[in-house]
Subunit: 357 residues, 2 copies
């Protein structure tokens, strides 16, 4: 896998070249922000978690798998019954291939992971179809603590990569983007994206929102991850390069951060080509509408896998998450290229499959 073949660049192209040039041989840190929105408990809304009672364990399980290579909170590594693994597999493979360190941040997860993590004291987000996600003071707390964490982490490295794990997060992302005035269509971890269900939830949430104040938008229809990571970006981008690692959820972060203020010259967004090729989303347009920053989409190459569980990514399953796309991009930036990325993923998939069975 190498840059020219597998990386698509859009948004502000000249800034993209600057960003890529200045990151080469730099020190990177991957931060994984765990969170939770009760919106994910609406039946049919998410693919994360083998069944509904397991969804709450997905964030700690992703964090534990990334760190230990196995999970402690649950017995198995997140994988669907038909063998489609968590996108954390791509993240872990990429970060390890380039020796990029990681830290886990708990920004409102329902369950804490069994490893050291940065604690923020944030509560989980409520179901936006029923009630506001958070109080305004909780949004302020999330932004303030995000600013502290972003500044601290960015002070230690040249490029801070930020990924997320929050089941149901594409629905709150859609609501935030619409609430802030962007005509968004969001992605999903399911190929038959439950668009009408999402739109119904988002509409009912936006109906209760009687304000265009960005803090009110997050409080009514957002989630703690969006508030926290926007705070991280606003301070971190003053100190170092920041790569938002994700698709439409990071677009929502960017939309709120554009209201808080951030340094667009130090910021980029990176995701997988499974997001940009998804006809149900308008990722490229949304990013351009929100901010004048570069955007990257990398093709992880899973369509050529001999394992159907990995191939499924190119057929619209999972697509992105746990900062997979951004991690691959950061690893390519650090090492020049990733030799045999598909082979490394398949080796890890084989290990993980045998652990689970």
């Amino acid at each position: 896998m190498n840059f020219l073949d597998d990386l698509e660049i859009f948004g502000n192209i000249s800034k993209a070249e600057n960003f890529l040039d200045s990151c080469k041989t730099d020190s990177f840190l991957f931060s994984l922000v765990m969170s939770y929105t009760q919106t994910c408990e609406i039946p049919g809304i998410t693919f994360a978690g083998a069944d509904s009672s397991m969804i709450q364990f997905t964030p700690p399980a992703d964090a534990e798998y990334l760190h230990y290579g196995y999970c402690k909170t649950i017995d198995k590594i997140p994988m669907t019954p038909d063998g489609i693994p968590t996108p954390g597999l791509l993240t872990k493979t990429a970060l390890e291939s380039a020796s990029i360190p990681h830290l886990v941040v708990n920004a409102g997860s329902k369950i804490s992971p069994q490893l050291p993590f940065i604690e923020t004291g944030l509560s989980l987000g409520k179901n936006i179809s029923l009630e506001p996600a958070m109080s305004n003071s909780e949004v302020i707390h999330a932004v303030d603590y995000g600013r502290i964490v972003g500044h601290s982490l960015a002070s230690m490295v040249n490029c801070l990569v930020i990924g997320e794990t929050i089941p149901g997060g594409t629905t709150t992302a859609l609501a935030v983007l619409k609430g802030l005035g962007f005509d968004a269509k969001v992605s999903s971890s399911i190929p038959n994206n439950p668009i009408s269900l999402k739109n119904r939830i988002v509409s009912s949430a936006l109906n209760r929102l009687n304000s265009d104040n960005p803090y009110d938008v997050i409080a009514y229809v957002g989630d703690p991850m969006i508030a926290f990571v926007a705070g991280m970006l606003s301070s971190a981008s003053e100190v170092s390069k920041v790569l938002l690692a994700g698709g439409t959820q990071m677009a929502a972060v960017l939309s709120f951060a554009s209201k808080l203020g951030f340094n667009a010259n130090n910021t980029a967004i990176g995701t997988t080509s499974y997001i940009t090729q998804d006809k149900n989303t308008n990722f490229r347009t949304i990013i351009s509408d929100i901010a004048d920053i570069p955007a990257f989409a990398v093709d992880p190459g899973l369509k050529n896998s001999k394992f159907s569980g990995l191939q499924a990514y190119s057929n619209g399953f999972a697509k992105e998450g746990v900062g997979a796309g951004g991690s691959i991009i950061a690893s390519m930036l650090k090492t020049g290229n990733i030799s045999n990325f598909l082979g490394l993923c398949e080796k890890e998939y084989r290990r993980l499959y045998s652990l689970n069975n």
Copy 2:
């Protein structure tokens, strides 16, 4: 303040020169490990905290003061009634003068700080005069999580500085050093060091210890900070330089780490000259007995202060804590020297004094 005048070097001198040379212009991170031992509740044992009910708030207050410049958990910045401030004042002044970032780790504090911090899930240490400090499985947890945190933080910087805030910690440090076979005399935050009280506590604790297994020693007579920081050192020193910032408490960490294994070529200990000049301690001898590493003692120069609260440090009060000595050394290493350190401390003392009154 400059190196040649204010820094005393002992232990392994040739390693000291290597350490100092390789740290110049490097990237530093200061980590503050908060903890608690109920041993501090024994009347007369510690100076940290204006009165006994306040002692438990000292660790979060130190962390909050270092970060915000004021405290959130309590109203006032830790200072005795006669105006002797927390050694955190030296730490804060030094780190800010050299723009060294910091992170807070909670390794068994009774009270969590009101800021983002690395959570480890560790419980506080019990009063060693009455019962074992921790279970063996808690010691293993502390070491394991210390290893994870040490590796993560050291991967991001070239020199990891580790300080502590644990009231009553010199007593558990004395017990650990003796339990591991070192003939230690420890320092205190009180000029009339309650030596006979400490020795009585330590003797009664060691009497219940029927093992020379290092994990048993920590479990019976130690505290969570010693276990955790020893774990940090063992992994971090494989990745980067590590400066243990403290006096006799860091000597106890070193004694346990020498049983776990660590890279002595990447490790140094740094403290204030108030520790090395204390006739009640044998700091230099202990360090040499434990490990073949360089040791540094810096004179913060407070004897020349116009404020009696700062002058008191040179008369045996407080002396060290919150990684003060190591922070000054790291700041001198990063910037070459600290221009007018006393003036900066006095300015901060004036601000702090007016906040408190």
